[in-house]
Subunit: 138 residues, 2 copies
Amino acid sequence: MLSKKTKYGLKALVYMTRKEDNKPVLISEIAESENISKKFLEIILLQLKNSGFLGSKKGKGGGYYLLKDPEQITIAALMRILEGPIAPLPCVSLHFYEKCSDCKTEEACSLNRVMVELRDSMLSVLEKKTLADLSAEG
Amino acid sequence: MLSKKTKYGLKALVYMTRKEDNKPVLISEIAESENISKKFLEIILLQLKNSGFLGSKKGKGGGYYLLKDPEQITIAALMRILEGPIAPLPCVSLHFYEKCSDCKTEEACSLNRVMVELRDSMLSVLEKKTLADLSAEG
DNA sequence: CATTAATCTATCGATTTAGTAGATTTTAAA
DNA sequence: TTTAAAATCTACTAAATCGATAGATTAATG
């Protein structure tokens, strides 16, 4: 299950993408429209800014705006920022690899092969779909 | 990411499956062999028993044993017991469906369609693979 | 009856999650 | 140059979850 943080982050980005021009959007406007706690959304958008997806402007007329083309932003990339690893186990993660302490070797691990398969099937969707796909009318 | 509970549970079941006969296996034997905290494993196996996957026998010669054919036990079924929902959002879950409070309708939810696709791609692996697949030598 | 091994009860510390409160800084506009 | 708007920063908090531990109880075997 995705955390609310990820869910809210994705929804906020879709909201911003659907705005015709690329002018700064108010946190409070997104929060109200998408039923998200404003303070929680602050944290989320700040994180997306620090990861290079969003820019911001303070003061009157300020807000957050997309820095990249929505078609260039995959759901996978966003999930790695907001949710962390996509892989079901650390030992099959491409971006957050860690050895499992309870396994002698990865070849000997009974779960490894199936989890690689699961990871790849998830990535086949998440690396293909972009913010532009989410924002397209259904 | 799967919890350690799920990981340990799956590994324990693989261990039991690989035992030639279907005699009761000691918790402590599994715990030692798989590097799992014995007390934590107790909780996990008890849960698998209460869900109908395992039987148990107390006293000398006791332990846990499989109640079903490993080929009949899908990873998906085990994950639903140990981990909970497989779906990335409650509103796309087949077994644990819940309406999202922040969405007016599911059709209007920008995430719904992609998350259905993600769920189905995960299930295509998890419903196909069984305990027998995990237990087969690699 | 003694031993073995599952089962039950009761915690526990650490971390994560989701959210709140309030002060500060930056910027645009009056 | 002041004022108001809006992001940013600091600092909490309550609740849930995770992983693990300690010890008592019950059931089965020999």
